[in-house]
């Protein structure tokens, strides 16, 4: 159920948009839904980021992953335990760009021994890190490449990206590696969820749904580019530029059902992002264990809602113990 429901959901979305193409609901699927999705996305991102940013970080709860800054003759770890703002910027960028923490991943394993307690071993396990990097970076390249549909002429930077991405040119059309990597990485993440018992156990509908969405998007994209389902890119570009300029073409020439499916799934992904776990895209910047300066004994961290509390004062304490303290020769404030 956890797996099938989101799969059916994505298939239903695809079917509905295909039917829409078939009965000619071009304005709805190519104009209204994309616009609505972008609006929902933008409002969602702002709402979500504000919902975090307006909440205080009452304590400095940095997770320190390296030597502290202390004595001058001890080398401190500027990136794993930063005591400066610049160090924190470096730490967060390492996290965002290279998935630093995920890179640490190890897998535990019990090695049995005869007549003795099994021994634990830890093996480097970079697969999740590699899969995640492949997934996010190929997605980024695919995303950037699509800018060609929104600009005329194609910017120079984009041409360079395409040149690199199309390095393995085999014929026409140029094969863009990124699309296939994205598909493979998404499939890897999905298989991991399905096959590793622990990961399967923790997975929810909301973990499978975005994976199926992305796989659907990548698959329809690849189909449009390389197969018999090839789409009239001139018409697509016409539409996209029109949308960008808020002048959607009044009567678009039929683009093809598969494009409708692709566009609808993309719209769903956009609209879904800020309201789901995909909001980690923004949240990773705001994680207090990573983005605070580790120097909590050097600079006082302010808690805006710090309030007075009941304490057991020294005076009360001395009142309770004065006689015993005096008898033991411990100095007291009141004789």
């Amino acid at each position: 159920m956890t797996v099938v429901a989101p799969l059916l959901g994505v298939l239903a979305l695809a079917a509905v948009s295909a039917v829409g193409a078939w009965i000619g609901l071009t304005t709805l699927f190519c104009v209204v839904i994309p616009y609505a999705a972008i609006l929902v996305f933008l409002v969602g991102v702002i709402w979500r980021v504000l919902s975090w940013a307006r909440r205080p970080t009452p304590f400095n709860i940095t997770t320190t992953c390296g030597q502290q800054y202390s004595l001058p003759w001890i080398q401190s770890s500027t990136l794993e335990n930063p005591h400066t703002r610049l160090g924190v910027v470096g730490r967060v960028l390492l996290e965002v760009l290279l998935f630093r923490s995920l890179f640490r991943n190890v897998k535990h394993e019990f090695v049995s021994r005869e007549n003795a307690a099994p021994r634990l071993a830890y093996k480097a396990s970079p697969w999740l890190w590699l899969g995640a990097l492949a997934f996010h970076y190929s997605f980024l390249v695919v995303f950037v490449r699509h800018y060609r549909f929104f600009s005329e002429p194609t910017p120079r930077v984009l041409q360079i990206v395409e040149m690199l991405d199309g390095f393995f040119q085999i014929g026409s059309p140029t094969i863009f590696v990124s699309g296939f990597v994205l598909l493979a990485a998404a499939a890897f993440l999905l298989l991991r969820r399905l096959l590793l018992p622990q990961v399967r156990y923790i997975s929810l509908t909301t973990d499978y749904f975005p994976l199926f969405l992305v796989i659907g998007i990548a698959l329809t994209g690849v189909l449009m580019r390389y197969t018999a389902f090839r789409t009239d890119t001139a018409a697509v570009k016409n539409l996209c530029i029109g949308l960008m300029q808020f002048k959607p073409p009044a009567a678009t020439e039929p683009i093809g059902a598969i494009f409708f499916v692709h566009l609808t799934l993309v719209s769903c992904l956009f609209a879904y992002l800020p309201y789901s776990k995909l909001s980690h895209m923004m949240g990773v910047w705001l994680s207090p264990t990573r983005n605070l300066i580790g120097a909590s004994r050097m600079r006082r961290h302010i808690n805006p809602w710090n309030y007075p509390v009941a304490v057991h004062t020294y005076e009360e304490y001395e009142d309770e113990w004065r006689d015993k303290m005096k008898a033991a020769g411990i100095p007291v404030d009141k004789e």
Binding site: Y122, S296, I302, K324
Partner: protein
């Protein structure tokens, strides 16, 4: 001593990692003996004015909660969602990648899927979804939302008290999600309706009234310190002074009170006394601020503040310049990350300067409190302590990084520098088990009680295993740690997993190696055992 049947280590280490087929959403807890802690006693709760004091046990069907318990908890969650960005972000952005799963010592040792940090967090997150997110309200179970029922509360209790707040998971999480933060807030919510454990509440109450966890009254503290001074005199021929509540001292010295009472912490305490005496520091003990440890960290943020307040208050009353802290784990999390924020600013104190070396401890210029490992490392670096490391030749030492000084401070090199100077045989455990990746002792955050013994041995399995590794490879026979809870619970853990290995604090070894001015020929170590008994090398 509760009647807990512990299986032999070979049996306990056969951990099954097959999760139940029916999933986790349906709350189910079996309070098996050995895996949970006794409930907080009403008297302790009354002492500090916490809600719903009563006699109860987790095994009771009825936990005697107030009629509106659900409202209270949900309202508490609502308030904390507004006060802690950490809580909101951590509940919102987890992608359940599973990287944290086998980073938890309780999961490795028990195989219980709800001990994967991700799932421990989901226990709380599912309730958050149900009552605080639109998707959860509309789609319920489908998106992982669960209603807060009494069974869910029992599950929270069971698993939030199977987390030692060690923060190892947050090192590996790509978003830095910290289960310790969620456990702390989860326990705070449970405390709102009077659900807690006695091994936390009793120290809290004692600490509030007498100043320390052990409930040591002022005159008894003095007696104990004098007793240790006698021991030191027997061993070294030197009578160390014991300044107590002394106005006009330069430095207030605060330690975990466990070191005053329990073997082997007492030897560490003797080490402190010897180093401080030999350095000539003008310092004082306090009977009021006689505890740096703070079980408020395992109760609520408010309780952290209430118990911690005495340290700055006492520093002000005695008119000292700065504060020095002993070897303790969670105590240092509070001192490093909470004290200044909660009870500062300490503008009546001065930036710590060692009068012996002239070193100005700039990194503590706001909090005005330094760790004794920083103090001693600085003394050694400047050649102010005469040391004879061969007096520790009987020991082959390995160092256990305690969770909090490691992951909430980054105190890695100072203790290692000291160790290399005070002993000749120091071996590191494998790199996945030390420094920021260190494994918990299994008994932190209030779980070091006897009734929880099976879970402690399970949680301590990875640590026990790493120690066994260096024991077999290098003949390691001493596990050194800078934490009072470690010194207590690692001792039991070693007896179970690696009986050949004893436990000590860092300053015990410093005390052994320290050549004091005018001392007599040393024949005994701080444990009053003949020096280098069984060791092949002799003192030079």
């Amino acid at each position: 001593m509760p009647d807990i049947q512990l299986p032999p280590p070979e049996e306990l280490a056969k951990v099954s990692f097959q999760p139940r087929p029916q999933g986790w959403m349906d709350p189910q807890v079996e309070f098996r003996p050995g895996t949970w802690s006794y409930a907080g006693k009403p008297k302790a709760l009354e002492t500090v004015g916490m809600p719903n004091p009563r006699e109860w046990s987790p095994t009771d069907a009825d936990w005697k909660l107030p009629a509106n318990w659900k409202e209270v908890i949900l309202q508490g969650l609502r308030e904390r969602l507004d006060k802690y960005r950490s809580l909101k972000v951590f509940l919102d952005i987890c992608v359940r990648c599973g990287a944290c799963a086998d980073k938890c010592h309780f999961f490795i040792g028990s195989g219980d899927p709800k001990n994967m940090p991700v799932l421990r967090a989901e226990l709380l997150r599912s309730v958050y979804r149900n009552d605080f997110t639109l998707a959860g309200k509309l789609l319920g179970q489908m998106v992982g939302a669960r209603e807060l029922t009494m069974d869910v509360v029992k599950e929270w209790f069971y698993y939030f008290y199977q987390c030692t707040e060690c923060r190892r998971c947050s090192v590996f999480c790509p978003y830095g999600i910290d289960q310790a933060e969620l456990t702390m807030l989860g326990r705070e919510l449970l405390n709102l309706v009077g659900i807690n454990i006695n091994w936390v509440m009793e120290p809290v109450a004692k600490c509030y009234m007498t100043g320390n966890h052990m409930g040591i009254p002022p005159h008894a503290l003095k007696d104990n310190l004098e007793f240790f001074a006698d021991d030191i005199e027997n061993i070294t021929g030197i009578r160390v002074d014991i300044p107590i509540n002394k106005k006009g001292a330069d430095v207030l010295f605060v330690i975990p009170s466990g070191d005053v009472m329990a073997d082997p912490g007492i030897y560490t305490l003797m080490g402190y006394m010897m180093v401080l005496h030999e350095s000539g520091l003008n310092y004082t003990w306090s009977t009021y601020a006689s505890e740096g440890g703070n079980f408020g960290l395992f109760t609520s943020h408010e309780m952290i503040k209430r118990l911690n307040a005495k340290i700055y208050a006492e520093a002000r009353r005695l008119g000292v310049k700065w504060i020095l802290g002993g070897e303790c784990g969670h105590m240092w999390r509070v001192l490093h990350q909470y004290m200044d924020t909660l009870n500062g600013p300490a503008d009546f104190l001065e930036v710590p300067v060692s009068p012996i070396t002239g070193t100005r401890f700039e990194h503590a210029r706001s909090t005005k409190m330094i760790h004794i490992a920083e103090f001693t490392a600085d003394l050694i670096y400047h050649g102010k302590l005469k040391l004879d490391p061969s007096r520790n030749n009987a020991y082959k030492v390995t160092f256990h990084d305690s969770c909090n000084p490691a992951r909430s401070m980054g105190l890695f090199e100072e203790p290692r520098y000291i160790l290399r100077n005070v002993c000749n045989h120091f071996y590191e455990m494998p790199e996945n088990t030390i420094r920021e990746q260190t494994f918990c002792c299994g008994g932190g955050a209030g779980l070091g009680n006897d009734e929880n013994m099976e879970m402690r041995m399970r949680g301590g399995l990875p640590r026990g295993n790493a120690v066994r590794f260096v024991h077999e490879r290098y003949g390691v026979n001493l596990l050194t740690a800078m934490c009072a809870i470690d010194r207590a619970v690692l001792t039991t853990l070693m007896e179970y997993w690696v009986p050949e290995v004893k436990v000590s604090g860092l300053h015990e070894l410093v005390g052994n190696a320290l050549v004091m001015t005018g001392e007599k020929e040393r024949e005994l170590n701080l444990r009053s055992e003949p020096l280098n008994e069984g060791g092949e090398e002799t003192s030079d």
